[in-house]
């Protein structure tokens, strides 16, 4: 079956990560009082983008390789 689950996982987490990063950059700092002062949207968004990107990379690499 030529279906690679890493592709949708990569896309979903990159997208959620991007939303969090952008929201983290534009939102007012007051809302981060609850998350003990750190802008968790920005930082966790970056973590998700890295994770999603890794999944996309793995899936892209597998696609490039010819099927044995």
């Amino acid at each position: 079956m030529q279906v690679d689950i890493r592709l949708p996982i990569g896309l979903l987490f990159s997208a959620i990560g991007a939303i969090l990063v952008v929201f983290g950059l534009v939102s007012s700092p007051e809302i981060y009082e609850r998350s003990v002062g750190y802008n968790f949207n920005l930082w966790w968004g970056l973590v998700l983008v890295v994770f999603g990107g890794t999944m996309l990379f793995l899936s892209w690499r597998a696609m490039k390789r010819p099927v044995p």
């Binding site: 689950i5 949708p8 969090l20 929201f23 939102s27 998700l48 994770f51």
Partner: protein, 578 residues
């Protein structure tokens, strides 16, 4: 209480779009019954492994384990390092050769091959009923939670959850459930992890947490380490918050309950049966054991942080800190641990991710129930007793139709739960009775060729009765006779045997049921004739099955070698947090 903003809804909708998209994507691959019910036995080991774990990580598991983390502290880890890892390794190394090798399409079907029709029927019908009710109950719990937490309409929550799970399984069958479970696994992990990080920062790291938890323990009348040491206080049941002694933990939870669940529950075993080869099937539960071993960080630690913060807020009178809500009867509402922490710590944006993770954990558990129900209904009940000998396309059609009415039944069960609280408790109790002895049947079936169909069936039925009997004669301390036990004792005017906690009572019910089933299956088997010939039992029993050859398989793909490594990890964790 909480309130979601546009950005949160955007994340949630994105998630809904992706799970449905995966179902749509897989739609054209579902051509035969085997594709729909068994993913065409084509799933790679790592995907099957994560799905195996994810199907078990339903919302009730996540919410319940966090609640136990608050209530009992790190002793809750026994549900992982004692009550899961050894059994997961055992099913992979020793049992999967029979499940996968026999080409059975379900766990009940294995029972038919090994024993007889009635043993299979008993297991299939009780299992099918159990899956419908447990997905109904978790749907009910989730809808109540969203209503309380976010002000969502109860009917809307039920509707949206049910329809989405229904659609993606209807389109893509087991493959869609499994692929989505992998996606959901990562969402649960990455959605709840920030909660642990923020919580730990707030409480002053691990050392801050242990200091505050020792105050919790002392104020509850236990030794200082009662919340942070998993075995040290199990010498007697009275010295730990769980109210159990080491033997009950090791035998009741670690042996009977855990092996009964991980080795015989079709909900998880189905994921391994869908793997692409025998080796992949055997590796499935062992791969799943690795994240399972680390999951206490995500689910138990938040509970421990929550109770520590609550105790600190109560004793210092400081305003604005986190505190668990209090019930009408004055105790803490532990089931709200994770949801309250999410609302307390997560800013808009991250909160959307957290709620999505909660939704994902619910859906992965529900999808596990739905796919297992589909298969057991279609193959073990419909094809066996109602409409046999039809074409594969007919049963594929039935599987699709069952997705619809099975989810419909679960929704019905969810509404039943809103009406009759006690009926649901009672049903769960009955299922627990049925499950407790099951592992004895499988153990004897797989490793003792003399075990007969009559022995298995009557052993199971009488083991179930033994569970009911023990429950009827014992009571947890402080409870009155009825649903909590002791009903038989009060009928006969006897004093019920008292346990220090409900947990201890459950563990001992399981021990009695297993022992009864084990002993009776052996005695009845010896008194009855073995109707299956040695030829029929080939591939179903250890002594009549050729060993799997592993020459040429590298060590990191050998189930036995990996199993030993993972087991060593679990032992190490037990010692570190002794």
């Amino acid at each position: 209480m909480g309130h979601l903003q546009g950005v949160d809804y955007a994340i949630l909708c994105l998630y809904f779009g992706f799970v449905l998209g995966i179902g749509w994507w897989l739609k054209n691959y579902m051509k035969t019954g085997e594709d729909f019910f068994l993913s065409g036995r084509s799933i790679p080991a790592w995907i099957a492994g994560l799905a195996f774990l994810s199907a078990n990580l339903g919302a009730q598991e996540v919410i319940g384990m966090a609640a136990s983390g608050a209530k009992y502290g790190i002793m809750t880890s026994h549900f992982y390092w004692v009550g899961a890892i050894p059994a997961m390794i055992f099913v992979g190394v020793f049992m999967m050769p029979f499940y996968y090798g026999s080409k059975a399409r379900s766990v009940p079907e294995y029972l038919k091959f090994r024993f007889d029709e009635k043993t299979r029927g008993f297991n299939a019908i009780s299992f099918a009923a159990m899956t419908v009710f447990s997905s109904g109950i978790s749907m009910y719990a989730l809808a109540m939670l969203f209503e309380l937490l976010l002000g969502w309409n109860f009917h809307f929550s039920i509707f949206i959850c049910a329809v989405i799970v229904l659609l993606y399984i209807f389109m893509g069958g087991l493959t869609s459930a499994i692929y989505n479970e992998v996606l959901q696994f990562f969402l649960i992990l990455l959605g709840f992890l920030p909660l642990v990080i923020i919580g730990l920062i707030d409480i002053g790291g691990w050392s801050g947490l242990t200091a505050k938890l020792s105050e919790v323990a002392v104020s509850a009348g236990y030794a200082e380490g009662a919340w942070t040491e998993s075995w040290s206080h199990t010498g007697s049941a009275a010295r730990n918050p769980m109210g159990v002694e080491w033997f009950g933990v090791a035998m009741g939870l670690g042996f009977v309950l855990s092996f009964g669940y991980w080795c015989t529950d079709f909900l998880v075993v189905q994921r391994a049966m869908a793997a692409k080869s025998m080796n992949a099937a055997r590796l499935t539960p062992i791969i799943a054991a690795v994240p399972k071993m680390l999951f206490p960080v995500i689910v138990i630690l938040p509970g421990m942080i929550a109770i520590a913060l609550t105790h600190y807020a109560m004793s210092s009178g400081a305003e604005g800190g986190f505190s668990l809500p209090v019930d009408e009867d004055g105790g803490y509402n532990y089931n709200l641990t994770i949801p309250m922490l999410l609302v307390h710590y997560f800013p808009a944006g991250l909160l959307g991710l957290g709620i999505t993770a909660l939704m994902a954990s619910f859906m992965s558990g529900m999808a596990g129930n739905v796919t297992a129900f589909n298969t057991v209904w279609t193959y073990d009940i419909y094809e066996s007793y109602i409409v046999p000998n039809k074409s594969d396309q007919h049963y594929l059609w039935m599987g699709r139709a069952t997705t619809v009415w099975g989810v419909g039944l679960s929704v019905g069960a969810a509404y039943l739960a809103t009406q009759f609280d006690n009926i649901m408790d009672m049903l769960q109790l009955v299922f627990a009775f049925v499950n407790a002895p099951l592992f004895a049947t499988f153990l004897l079936g797989m490793f003792w060729r003399r075990a007969t169909g009559h022995g298995a069936f009557f052993g199971l039925v009488l083991g179930t009765l033994a569970a009911a009997l023990h429950h009827g004669l014992s009571l947890p301390e402080g409870a009155s006779a009825g649903i909590k036990g002791g009903w038989l004792a009060s009928l006969a005017n006897l004093d019920a045997h008292l346990y220090l906690s409900e947990m201890a009572q459950n563990f001992w019910t399981a021990i009695y049921a297993w022992t009864a089933c084990f002993a009776l299956t052996i005695s009845i088997s010896l008194l009855t004739r073995q109707k299956k010939s040695e030829d029929e039992l080939k591939g179903l029993v250890w002594s009549l099955t050729p060993r799997i050859k592993e020459e040429g398989v590298p060590w990191f793909r050998r189930p036995g070698t990996l199993g030993v490594i993972v087991l060593a990890g679990a032992v190490a964790l037990n010692i570190i947090f002794w």
